[in-house]
Every structure is written in structure tokens, then in C-alpha cells.
Amino acid sequence: MAVSDSPPIRVALFGRKEIGIALAICALTALLIGYKVFALGYSMASVQQEDGYFVALQMDVVGNGRSCELKVTLPVSSDRQVIKHEKQVAESFRYTISPGRIGRWYNQAFSGKATLTYSCLAQTEAKRYPLPEGADIPTTYSLRLQSDLGAEERTQSTDPAIVAKAMELAPPGTQLKATLERIFNFCQRDLRYLEIKGPTDAVTALKLGEASCNGKVRLMVAMLRAKGIPARMANGLILERSRKRTTHAWVEAWVGDSWVPFCPTNDYFARIPETYLELAKGDVAVITRSRNIGFDWKWTVAHQLTTREKAVVANVDHPLNILRVWTTLKDYHVSLDLIMVILMIPIGATVVSFARNVVGVVPYGTFMPTLVAVSFRDTGFLFGAIMFTTVMVVAVSVNYLLMKLRLLHIPRLTIIITVVVLSILGVSVVCIKAGLTSGAAVSLFPMAILSLTSERFTQTMIMDGAKEAVNRLMITFMVAGACFVAIDWTALQMVVVAFPEILLINVAINLVIGSWTGLRLLELRRFRDLPPETATP
């Protein structure tokens, strides 16, 4: 019997051609990047940690040919606030800053329109101030505090009604801390808050029994002064994402040897929250201006562009980066962040390709996990997971009911999309009401993807049972998690934004994965009991 000497089956785990092309692509990419970095001196901007609020004052001025002056009390760095990266736009004005931190824009003959701005990065902290226990109100103060003890036009600390009220709240002999507490409590609690435009003086506030923040503050300052405690008004901004014209006022009282803040409007006793930015001390206007001009202004407060976004911009805004074309489109407002997300999608897809062809798990849909992960970028992983689960439960139940109604496929999917949209909004509203601000970020949550996932889930549930359906949902979720880690990895994002050509490597990786014919990890387990190849006879 002739034994054939046919060769044993070739063991080639990867395609030779594919590996060759992949290596060539990698070499090309390395060459491109190397050329940019070494020959052209391109360097990558990385992410620097810098948190804070971006505060901007924009003033629109219309002049009539006469001299024009604008003064703004600028924020000062202190032990609880740091002012950085100050910028201003002066146009035809001369801009100076006085030693007392007054910014001054001046033009001796201004006509036409101008937009003047001041902006800075404010890093603030909340701070609590200890008050001395058992201390009496001091009887003498240094000379420089005298002006914070006397009466002013709108802070009538010598008015009989105010003195009488102050004495009623804190009779002579009351200690310092108790005096502060009682006067604060009166202004905070007993004096009702009323939104009034314009200033209210102390006497009016007391007479009306209600006042806005500046009225409360003037009354409290007046009563403290009446009790012989140096006090003054503090003006500033509340740092929350907004555009506004109004500033906020609170009280500072001299306790021990420092100024201690009190806010009777928002109930901060001897403490100041992180969101207060101090601008001016004393009963002064933050902005003053020449009378004879047209004038409008607004404060803009925003969370500082996350540093990631800044780094993206820095990386893109380079003559060697092809993505720069988008930054030249000033009027189109293309979000670079969106472009970055788009660039990361192929990388998320590679995660799926690895999960399916190397690990051997099968999530719902082809790139559904990638798209789910992209949506998690907007919401954050935790909130995204809550959203995902809730919406799935709702959508699957509705789908199940609609199947019972014998609705046809596409109309049924349309109803599910509608239900998905409604439940996304519902979850979002509940989260915002509950104080979870991340719940607001629903804009990009891909509703179609969720609807399709719920459809696949229902189908799997009907055909292969609930256990299999839940299993695959978990797998989808896990792969989505892995995608999320990849596309949310800051360092990788920066590399991709700085060198978009790196996506060629993504092609190379998939050439390798796509030509790999070895057993997937789960198949190793599945076939573990098979005997090894028997020797050919």
C-alpha cells in the first residue's frame, strides 16, 4: 500500500500578503510622522491640567466724537482666588490698569462703535472663616478701618431706626460672634428677598422688610457699623455658566484681624462658596463710564474650556495639520471636538474587530458597541450606563407589547424610536431634577442605535430565550465599555488629532486581524477537548 507523502496542512496564522501590506503601511505612517516631527519640527501639544472659570466682560460702546472713558474694577488674586491669563481688547482705546486694579479704557475723541472686552481665568476656592468664641466687640480699631465704621449715603449706620434695630437684635454686652449671628440671621431670614432692579439703601430695606441682595447687604453693613464692627460691601460675580449684567453683593466684616465674608442673600455665614468671584470692595459700581456714550455690557461666565479641548485646538491649529482647514471656516462653527470624535470612531471599531475576531464574542449589531461608546462620551460612562439600561428596559417592554399587537416591522421600530426618545428625555429630566447635571448631556445619544439594539434584544429574546438576550446585551455593554476606554483615552486622542495619518495604522492592525486564522480565545476553550492532530498514516 503506497503511503502518500502529502504535506501536512500548512500552519499559517496570518496572511503573508496582508502582513506585508500592513508593514508597508506602518512604515509609511512612521515616515510621514517622522518627517513632520524631525524634519519640519512639528511638536504635539499635550493636555495640561488647569481648571477654573472663564470670565469675560464685553462692553459695547457707541461714541459721538467726545472723550470716552470706561473703568472696571478688575478681580484681584487673593488667598482664595487666583486670576490668570488676563486679556483685553481695546480697539481704538488706550488701556491702562491703575495700581488699585482699575482697568481703564480711554479715548479722547471717540465716535462710532467699539466692543471692548476683558477676560481672565478665575480659579476660586470655597473658604470658611473661624470666628473667635467669647470675644467682645473691640472698642478701638486702627485708623485705616475708620471709613468702614461710619455712615455712608446708602449705608445709614447712624439712622435712629437702624441703630434701634441693631440694639434690639444685639443689646449692649452681646459678644462679637453672637452679634454677627443675630444681625446676619435678621438680614438673611427676617428680611424677605425681593428681586428689585437698582440699589436699595439700608433704611429703605429696613422699612420695607424686603430687599434684593444689595439692600440686604447695605442694611447688614449699616447695623454692624452701628454696633461698632467695621463692615463693608463686597461686589463680585457668581460663577455659573451664564450671560448676565448683574453682579452680586455680599458683606465683609472685620473680625479679629481680617475681613470675613457673609452673604445674607444665599446664607453663607462666615464663609464664601467657590462660585463667588470678588471684584470690588466698598459701595462702588464695578463699571463706571462717561455719561455721554451709548453703552451696553454683559458678563459671560463659562467653565474654562476643558483642557482637552484646548489641547485639541492647539494640535489642530498648525500649518502641517490637515485638520486645520476646519479652523479656517470661521462662520461654520465646526466643532473640533466632533472632528476628534469622528477620528476616534475607527479606533473604537478596531476594538470591536478585536473583540469579535480575536476574543470571539458577538455583541449586537456590527459597530453598535462603538456607537454606544461614542454616546457615552457625552454623558459620562456612569450616566450613560444608567440611561442605556433604563431605555433598554422600556424599549424592550414596548417592543414586546407591540409584537403582541402584531405591528409590522418598520412602523414598530418607529414607535420604538419614539418611545426611546421620550424615555431618554424622561431620564434626562429626572436626572436634572435630582441634581445630576450630566443628565443634561443627551444631545448626541444615538436614539436609532438604542432602538435597533432593543429590537435585536427582543428578537433574540423571542428566538433564543431571555438568558441569551441578556448575555449578548452584557457582551455588547462590555465591548462598548472597552470602546469607551479607547476613544476616551486622552493621550490617544491627542496623538490622533496631532497626527491624523495614524489612522493608517488602524488599517494595518485590521489587515493583521483580518488575516488571522487562528482559533479565537473562546474557541480555544470550545475546542479544548479535541485530540491533537493524529499522525498521518
Partner: protein
């Protein structure tokens, strides 16, 4: 450890990656795959070539045809099967005993109302059971009279035979036996039993259920090893004939034995699963090796 791991990635066993790349994508042309996926086209081609297939009753391509075709079903005495033309893994297939004017009696379970039946057909038509086709067609064919005792007696449903044909030659064979757990279906992933059949001896060599080795049928306790498959040679000849009609270099042919007609091809698969390797305790690579050696010996 690494040595052990690599000894497992031996060339004898094919994983999905290798099956898709070296078998499906190498030997199966897309048009042939498309033909195999379309049960109507496949059936017409097979039947023209003389391969025994279940007799067609009707094909439904539009919702409006459902009620007209239903009148055809009313007269049937021996039952009928409704299938999506482009379904896979037996999804969406339902066996019915009789159609009555206002209800339909399925083989398993409670009677369906006529509305339920129409909705079911509509779901198939709107592509619910297909993978990437937006619309589908429905095949209604005669329920064959399957021989339940073909391979092992006392089964809760009809068994079938899956034969892998490589470039025209039967390569591996597996009998699939229903269990109570698989609800009378011969699907392995539903809990059916897979018997590895030696094509030379025609006898079973190994049995698996849920990918675990077993020796006896879980319901009847019948022994599963060394069982002879009656008429295997016929089945192999039919399988090889299928490969000449459907030009797939790597295919799975599913055969049921009708009590009157003998072996009947119920489906042709362009991407047959890998569990057949477990049932036979033989990798596809190893089977190919052996086949080549046999061929060499005959020459």
C-alpha cells in the same frame, strides 16, 4: 504553558476565522452563497437536477397574496411548513398540521388564529428573520413525513443528517437528534444531540450535547456510540450531487429521511457551523488531511 497553548492551536481544528478565510472566502463565490441563502432558488435548482426536496405548495412575495394562498392550504391533509426564504438556523420556520377556515393548527402548541398566522407571514416578508436583506419571501412546502426512527429510536422529533462537502467530496458527517430540551428540533444550539458519523464505516463514533460528550440519549437512554446510519451511502451521493448543482466548494447539506421518499434535502448551507468537529472529535483540517491521504492511496 505557551507550549500547551500552541499545541491547541493545531492546524487540525478550524475556528471561525479560518473557516471564513480559507473555506468560505476561498471556495465559495458570493453568487453561490447568495443562491444557497435563497431557499427558493436553491430548491428549484436542486429539484431540476433530480435531488429530492420537499414539494413546494406556494411562495409568498407580497402581503396581499397571503389570504389567496391560504385558501390553497385549507385543503391540505398532511400538514405544511412555513419558512422564510432567507432565514438561517431554522429561525422563523414553523410546522403546521392543518389550516382551518378561522385557525391554524401548529405541530406544537395551541392553535393560532388566522390573524396570528397572517402577522407571522408578514413578519417574515418584512425581513425579520433575514440577516441583511430588507425584504424576504415565504416558502410554504409540504410537511414531509419524517422517519423518526431513522438513526436512534424513541426521539421526540425527526433527526437529520448534516454532511460537509468539500470540493464535491463528502468530508464530515453528523447526525442531529432532537431532545426534549431542544423542543423536538434538531438544532444543536437549542440542546439537540450531535452524533459524529464515520463516513467509511457509516457508524457513529462520538456524541455531544451542548458541546459536552455523552454516550446515551438524554431522554430515551438509547446508546449513541456505534449506531449505524442506514442509507448513508445514498445520503452521501445526494450530498455530492448538491455540490454539482450549487457551486459551493465548501458546503453543508442537511438531509431528512422521509418515510415514503427516503432522503430529502431540506437545506444547503454556505457557512456550515464548526460543531461538527466536536461531534466527530476531528478537526476539519484533519479530515481534509485524511481525505487527501485516502485519495492518494486510491491513485
Amino acid at each position: 504553558m505557551i507550549q500547551r497553548l500552541f499545541s491547541r492551536i493545531h492546524p487540525a481544528v478550524f475556528g471561525m476565522n479560518r473557516r471564513n478565510r480559507e473555506l468560505v472566502m476561498t471556495h465559495n463565490h458570493l453568487t453561490a452563497i447568495d443562491l444557497a441563502n435563497d431557499k427558493i432558488g436553491t430548491k428549484n435548482a436542486l429539484s431540476r437536477a433530480g435531488v429530492p426536496v420537499p414539494a413546494s405548495i406556494a411562495e409568498i412575495s407580497a402581503h396581499r397574496d397571503v389570504r389567496r394562498i391560504y385558501s390553497k392550504l385549507l385543503g391540505l391533509q398532511h400538514g405544511f411548513v412555513v419558512k422564510p426564504a432567507r432565514g438561517s438556523q431554522g429561525r422563523g420556520v414553523t410546522l403546521f398540521n392543518r389550516a382551518l377556515p378561522n385557525s391554524v393548527l401548529p405541530l406544537h402548541g395551541a392553535p393560532w388564529t388566522l390573524e396570528e398566522f397572517v402577522y407571522y407571514v408578514a413578519r417574515i416578508l418584512s425581513g425579520e428573520y433575514t440577516v441583511c436583506h430588507p425584504v424576504d419571501q415565504v416558502i410554504v412546502e409540504e410537511k414531509i413525513n419524517p422517519d423518526r426512527h431513522w438513526i436512534v429510536p424513541g426521539l421526540p422529533g425527526p433527526p437529520d443528517l448534516r454532511i460537509i462537502v468539500m470540493q464535491g467530496e463528502p468530508l464530515l458527517c453528523m447526525a442531529r437528534l432532537p431532545t426534549v430540551a431542544s423542543e423536538g428540533r434538531a438544532n444543536l444550539h437549542k440542546g439537540g444531540v450531535g452524533l459524529g458519523i464515520d463516513l467509511q464505516t457509516g457508524r457513529s463514533t462520538n456524541a455531544i450535547m451542548k458541546e459536552k460528550r455523552i454516550a446515551h440519549h438524554p431522554d430515551s437512554g438509547e446508546p449513541l456510540i456505534g449506531v449505524e446510519v442506514e442509507g448513508l451511502a445514498d445520503c452521501m451521493r445526494i450530498a455530492a450531487l448538491c455540490a454539482t448543482v450549487i457551486p459551493l466548494g465548501y458546503m453543508g447539506v442537511d438531509i431528512i429521511r422521509d418515510r415514503d421518499r427516503g432522503p430529502v434535502v431540506i437545506e444547503v448551507n454556505a457557512r456550515p457551523g464548526l460543531a461538527i468537529q466536536l461531534a466527530n472529535r476531528t478537526g476539519l483540517g484533519e479530515a481534509m488531511n485524511r481525505a487527501r491521504n485516502r485519495k492518494g492511496r486510491h491513485e
